[in-house]
Symmetry: C2
């Protein structure tokens, strides 16, 4: 029985970054409590959340007396504190593959802004159609498809030798284009990620919050 | 004599992310070649850069036959391949401090967008004054100062026990407010970072590119 873990997520379970940490904790089979934070009411800027989360953003993790925000950073922390083989690995063991997994995560968090804006996760989780893509979002979609196609071949269900958390993040980004054009191998890859029990559990939370 | 290292940077030496990797390589005392990429001419989307850099962004690193983009990811890679004590450490050795250093980096790369836009690095490197901050940028500046003030006390010259690459990144973000209001301890902290020989070498490149 380890120190308690609490994961703070947006109360609508729409944040792809909260989802990423939720999946990470679930893949590691760690017991944790989920605490919704009402972003629309500004709860992230109020106590007690504000003093737990330095950057006042979700997701935030509390592990014993240690607080941490930023999803990819939390994944790195979990992989260090709860390492393989006792727990599932979130990152590849090989140095170069690990670097490539981090590269995907960092890129998805800092590029393709127009696509993220015009195809929010309501598209991903609710199947909500959006307006036609603007030129900027169209360019971002083209870049995403180009890069993902370099990484994901036909019938490929993981970026590297085994699953990594970068697979979840890439699948979410691809799912933003579910109702737009998405090449078959990429659609199949994202769908395969969606079948993981850890992702399905997140989707259940999402559906329950919507109901 | 190790495998050759090439760092691709924007040809104006204005990218804070290119600077971060430049400083990382210099702190590690690794020999490397600097290759400018002309972003205004779209060289990042042309060969040969495009096939070297998966995400077609600077900075990009080539180490032997391995290519990598995304500045914080390159820093992690360098810290794994050229570890302390033979080379300077870029991240703290302690798990929690390392997580906090990564947290700062990830936050600076994914938040405060209005401040980054209205106080571009021309402000930092050229001392170029900008328009008064918009409401959004003002809020970002207030958040930056709030968070940084929680981390940096009077006469403190590093976030953690020893210098880390997060110090360079935080200093650059703070320097965006050089001509605005910046509390004295934060100004002194950023100025102390600026005195590091690794940062001074970057500034020489920047000045030469401007001349």
């Amino acid at each position: 029985m380890g120190a308690p873990i609490t994961l703070y997520v947006d109360s609508l379970f729409l944040s792809p970054y909260a989802m990423s940490v939720y999946v990470a904790l679930t893949e590691k089979q760690l017991p944790f409590e989920v605490r919704p934070v009402d972003l629309e009411a500004g709860e992230q800027r109020m106590q007690p959340f504000q003093c737990r989360a330095l950057t006042t953003r979700v997701p935030a993790l509390t592990h014993a007396d240690f607080n941490l925000t930023e999803s990819s950073v939390i994944a790195e922390y979990l992989d260090e504190v709860f390492p393989a083989p006792a727990h599932a690995a979130l990152y590849p063991a090989d140095t170069r593959q690990r670097a490539r997994a981090r590269q995907i995560q960092a890129w998805l968090r800092s590029d393709l802004g127009a696509l993220r804006q015009e195809r929010p996760t309501e598209t991903v989780f609710y199947g909500k159609a959006g307006q036609p893509l603007s030129d900027a979002a169209h360019a971002a979609a083209a870049k995403l498809i180009h890069v993902a196609s370099l990484l994901v071949g036909v019938d490929q269900t993981a970026l590297f030798d085994t699953w990594s958390i970068a697979d979840t993040d890439l699948a979410v980004m691809l799912k933003r284009l579910s109702l737009d054009d998405l090449p078959d191998p990429l659609r199949a890859y994202a769908d395969a990620q969606w079948q993981r029990p850890s992702v399905q559990k997140w989707l259940e939370h999402n559906a329950a919050a919507r109901a």
